[in-house]
Amino acid sequence: MNEKQRIRMWSFSLIAGFFLMWELLCIVLGVSDLVLPRPSEILVTLWTKFPILWPHILQTLYSTLIGFSLGVCIGVSLGVLVGTSKVAYSVAYPLLVGFSSIPKVAVVPIFVLWFGSGTTPAILTAMVICVFPIVVNIATGLAKTEPDLEDVLKTLGASKSEILWNVGLPRTMPYFFASLKVAITLSFVGAVLSETVASNRGIGNVMMTASSNFQVSLVFAGLIILAVLGVVLYALFSWLERRVTGWATRDTEIAIT
């Protein structure tokens, strides 16, 4: 426990030190706040503009979470489909890799073309960007079911769905939650990306507008908000991961009930 606290203290100091260095360097080198505003300025902007920023934060979170949820649904179904059948796996894999290797910036214009600018393309971008890691992880987890165990269950006369339900899916949970951590951050990136290109709401749009108005400290305030939101979302899902799949990490505190 002591060790944990020390590590926490150090990472906090690292963050504080980073901003302190930034502040000091700006002052010492006399950097113009049009190029790089000082953290203290950014904080002030953040504080004064917060009432204006708040709806945009909600908007970005909304697009991210809706897109993410849709992505999870699609990802899980595709993953189960692909993971339970060797044939489906081999057949679908090239297509999946093809889709995943398309830079997601490239699909935003298409979504805008189809649905106009606004919330819809943001949600869709957040969705497509997070599907692939989920599919791959679910499929991998399912494929990793121990053959011996499957034999034991088959010998008992278990049906395919019983094996999937009792062994396949629980075994996949650690992979699934690991992929959720990646997916939620990706979704967030996707939503912001789409907002910067085609939306008049959301943090992405705020930053875009601010930069064209040379409100540099507002741009950085947006960045800080994005970083904080990203960390919070990530932390949320790693907490969930530990709660649900503690058995995979052999954490005694969680495992023993």
Binding site: L149, L153, T155, N166, P170, W247, A255
Partner: protein
């Protein structure tokens, strides 16, 4: 005393084998397992590998047969035939008088790897078959906290794991996991128990301890057992009959009854006649290895 007697099971395998046969007569005639010149060939054409030459093997109900032989001789292939995980390339495999694919008899299986599910407690792991096998699965929801729980606990008590029911698999040693594995293979009162080198990964003392536990469990509920092992003493201590297989492509070259009454004490394995028996088997296997 059989604590885990069959619940009222309308489809009791022995009695429904053949509608024309008299149940009691059927019980004496129907073999638990019958391999009728069954062979297994993997692959086709030039790359065909014969894993098992046409083999004849019969297990009476309540029999305990050990299969020994050099590694890769098709011992496990026979188990996989009986459990219908693979189908014979020629010949037939009958279990309880019917094609093995029907899975007419209730089967339990244990491997060298305990394959406990890490997210379940030992109790939940052992209970797993009751969730899957009829007729238990029909009442699983009502009974898992009552009758089934007691059943699991009795069994865990018999193998000395009473205090570990609530533990997770990673908190147990290899020997303990293997005991839990045996419990899982037996909890649904199988007619046929298939063991594939179950004690292969354990140290000598733990192994001997588990032999005794297995012997007790066997004598308690008398399932038909087919044990694959490469430990001759294990075969001699536990089995009623020992079948020796030749190197690949495997076939059974010797089928002998162990002339020692059961239950056997662990000291038996150091007796002269036991040693002589294992020596003979050993010589036989050494011969066919090449």
């Amino acid at each position: 005393m059989n604590i885990l007697a069959h619940p009222a099971d309308p489809a009791d395998p022995v009695e429904t084998v053949s509608p024309t046969a008299v149940p009691s007569a059927a019980a004496t005639r129907i073999k638990a397992v019958e391999l009728q010149q069954a062979s297994v060939v993997f692959g086709t054409g030039d790359r065909a590998v014969t894993a098992l030459s046409p083999t004849k093997l019969t297990l009476e109900q309540g029999d305990f047969v050990a299969l020994v032989g050099p590694s890769g001789c098709g011992k496990s292939t026979i188990l996989r035939l009986v459990t219908s995980l693979i189908t014979p390339s020629s010949g037939a495999v009958l279990v309880g008088g019917r094609d093995a694919a029907i899975r007419h008899l209730r089967m339990g299986m244990a491997f060298q790897n305990p394959t406990m599910l890490p997210w379940l407690t030992i109790e939940q792991n052992v209970m797993m078959p009751l969730k899957i096998v009829k007729p238990f699965k029909n009442t699983f929801r009502q009974d898992r906290k009552g009758a089934f729980r007691d059943r699991v606990h009795t069994l865990l008590g018999q193998v000395g794991l009473k205090d570990f029911a609530g533990h997770f698999p990673w908190q147990l040693s290899g020997g303990m996991l293997q005991r839990a594995n045996l419990c899982r293979a037996l909890v649904h009162d199988p007619d046929l128990l298939l063991l594939d080198e179950p004690f292969g990964a354990l140290d000598q003392f733990t192994r001997e301890e588990l032999w005794q536990i297995l012997q007790d469990l066997y004598l308690d509920r008398k399932p038909t057992v087919l044990l694959v092992t490469h430990d001759l003493r294990e075969a001699g201590f536990l089995a009623k009959r020992i079948c020796v297989m030749s190197a690949r492509p495997g076939r059974i070259i010797s089928d002998e009854v162990v002339p020692l009454p059961q239950p056997r004490a662990i000291e038996t394995i150091y007796s002269p006649e036991f040693v002589e028996m294992t020596q003979t088997l050993r010589a036989l296997i050494a011969q066919v290895r090449t």
